[in-house]
Amino acid sequence: MLRYVGRRVAGLALVLLIVLTLVFFMLRAAPGGAVDAYLGMNPTPEKRAEVEHRFGLDQPLWVQYAKFLGNLASGDLGNSLFSDRPVSAIIGERLPVTLELSLAAFLFWVAVGLVAGALAARRRDSFVDGCVRVISVVALSIPSFWLALVLVVVFGLYIKGVLPSSGWTPFTQNPWDNLRGVVLPAFALGLGSGAIIARTLRASMIETAQTDYVSFARAMGMSERRLLRQITLRNAIIPTATVIGLMLGVFVSGTVLVENVFNIPGIGQTIVGSFRQHDYPLAIACTLITASVFLVANLAVDLLYFVLNPRIRAGFLNGTAR
């Protein structure tokens, strides 16, 4: 188990390093780039040389690369070109917003997805099952940013004053307004993932219910309630856990879109805004933060999977699983 974790963490570090290197060289190769964005129109050659010197761009490439990594390692992400504030301070403000939004969407939609999936599987081919199947297909096909647009139109134009349809109130300023403001974006962000959870749980519960060990337990006189709780649900939750893990990846791109529609000052809005303003230090930092959150979350899901499924655990102990 420890060896597995170690290998995964090493792999994660390697992927991050590859990403960093790619980012570094892409930025150097990109036409224009940070200096042009910083200088604006028609700079004099002297001015350009001065700025290049300030950014350290006149040094050999490998020195720049080493510095870039060194700065990152010490947590210095540079200053935003646009507002001249430290990038780390900006991220410190924006990241909690995105995390709160994601967490709200995650908790709500995992709960809804699990309940809907379990209900549909228990009453297979009933009216409830039919509803869950049809609604989930539609729900997982709705583009999150379009749903967000529709919600903004409905709540901003027709049902005014019920829920805020744009902007963000920090929790410290007004907790109630903050929570009200999370409702619509979180709804739009997680709907598709909730649908996928419901579908996966339904399918794997139905599959588990047809296995021999469930028939055997039933023949042994186990009550349907206990059967569901102790056997069917427990086995069916494993594939569902994988899907719940995949949600995190969906959220990473989803927050970019939803934050832009609802005008929420999170990481997603910052990424798009900073690329528009050619504010490269900020854009890079946001991309890296997003990628790291995604990678760490993926690792956590894999480890959770490991804990949930005794068969995988046994495989690893025997060395049979790769």
Partner: protein, 297 residues
Amino acid sequence: MVMTRVPPRSPAVRPRLPRLSALTWTGVVLLLLFLVLAVIGPMVAGDSTVRTGETLAAPGTAYLFGTDHLQRDLFARTAEGARVSLLVAVAGVGFGLVVAVPAGLVAGYFGGRWPDDVIMRVLEALQALPLFVFALFVIGVTGTGDSELGPLTLTSTAKVVLLLGVGFIPYFARVTRSATLVEVQEDYVDALRVLGVPRWRVIGGEILVNVLPPVLVQAFLWIGVAVFAESALSFLGLGIQPPQPSLGNILGDATGYMLLGAWWYSIIPGLVILVATIGFNLVGDGLGDALDADGRR
């Protein structure tokens, strides 16, 4: 030793008209609606750049989908956008397949040996980043205009196609690999080896043909994903660039006018995306089910 004819293949996976469920039929109808709009729509709607003289007119008999803030007919814009989005999605999936299928075949054929390991590690690295953030970053850095890549000039549309394709490679390659792993176990592959058929012909001929159906079903499902991804990028202003309409950038334009009461501007193109994605999902699911049933028979 010229007898290279293959003994009758085990499960014959030939397209035949399967019995479709109600959901699949719904999908077929939705998909046809989308295809009619994307293929025939631009022909009947006329020029999508013409100014009609009416700003933000509501949908009605004169303008089926209304008009936009630049007085353009939204039906013509949406139809043209649907065509562009569909072409970009199909091209992206196609590009992904062209790279992923050979990679998956090789990895599967050499399952567990070094070519497999190398290919799988590269795919894992690709998959480690969320596709959307990756695309966002590349386009953000290289700009939304044309980019030079050696002798090639990539337009923003070409960049979207390539990025979508690259993002899909790991998924397609995995499906190809796992299908190949199963196929390599079949007796006919051993038989061909014994007969001395060159390895590349076994892989590129016999195995490829048998592996393709599940891969194509996956690819079909991913066209829906590609339509969504393209529209999301264009919505943020990082995909297809105006004046070329796409379903995403029409929605992006619409955000400035939705609170002025122009609901049709954002609702209708979004519904078109929805029809397309539901259609591809349902038909893809149906095809997958039909294939499963075929395999079991």
